[in-house]
């Protein structure tokens, strides 16, 4: 049973489109995150949710809108995709901010 699962694993889309990435964790964790990993492998936090509430929004364009329908799910919707949005997006969860985080397999987004 996968602890943190993301779908899809790969996403190729044209500029200007809207797309969503889904994330689910079955660990019973209260905190979930979205990270963006660029081509240089830097991992930057985008959002942090605790028990369905937004805690951190890290200067991300408002084209990116996270949604947490319940504490086991944190989806990421992206409007009007741009070339610079191409990256690998990771979802993660932890029981608290200072405990081990579990990552999903990542979604490789390519905007053409």
């Amino acid at each position: 049973d996968t602890a943190v699962s993301q779908t899809p694993k790969y996403l190729v889309t044209q500029m200007g489109n809207d797309k969503s990435i889904k994330c689910e964790q079955n660990l019973g964790h209260d905190t979930m995150y979205w990270y963006k990993q660029d081509s240089k492998k830097f991992l930057k936090i985008m959002f942090s949710y605790n028990n369905k509430e937004l805690i951190i929004n890290e200067t991300v364009p408002n084209r990116f809108s996270p949604k947490s329908p319940d504490k086991a799910h944190l989806n990421l919707h992206i409007n009007s995709l741009e070339l610079g949005d191409s990256a690998v997006y990771f979802c993660a969860s932890s029981s608290m901010a200072d405990t081990e985080a579990f990552f999903g397999q990542g979604t490789r987004l390519t905007v053409v």
């Binding site: 830097f42 991992l43 936090i45 942090s48 901010a97 200072d98 999903g104």
Partner: protein, 110 residues
């Protein structure tokens, strides 16, 4: 913003050689975590350090937390091809934000 710098950014070692990556912060850290990301994979938790001067070992891996809790290191003895990947130190600066260091990418020459 608060950052955690890692050096070196890249390291190529002959198989069997040792490897060390260093993590530095300008502010005191409440804790430090280390993660490994294999090529094409996702970050996987290795360990967490909390106490000043703490040293922990996992087989060939030795993790240290500085006395001032501003730096940390990961040392791998006698590297193997399975050690290939990017190693990240991670902290939360006492808030809800898990901040990743810049990472050290290790490649092994067989």
């Amino acid at each position: 913003g608060q950052q955690v710098m890692q050096i070196p950014q890249y390291q190529h070692v002959q198989e069997g050689e040792d490897f060390t990556t260093y993590c530095n912060s300008s502010t005191t850290l409440s804790n430090i975590q280390w993660y490994k990301q294999r090529p094409g994979g996702h970050p996987v938790f290795l360990i967490q350090l909390v106490k000043s001067g703490e040293v922990k070992k996992q087989k060939r891996l030795t993790f240290q937390f500085g006395e001032a809790k501003k730096n940390s290191s990961l040392h791998i003895t006698a590297t193997q091809t399975t050690d290939v990947g990017t190693y990240f130190c991670v902290t939360n600066f006492g808030n809800e934000k898990l901040t990743f260091g810049t990472g050290t990418r290790l490649t092994i020459i067989p």
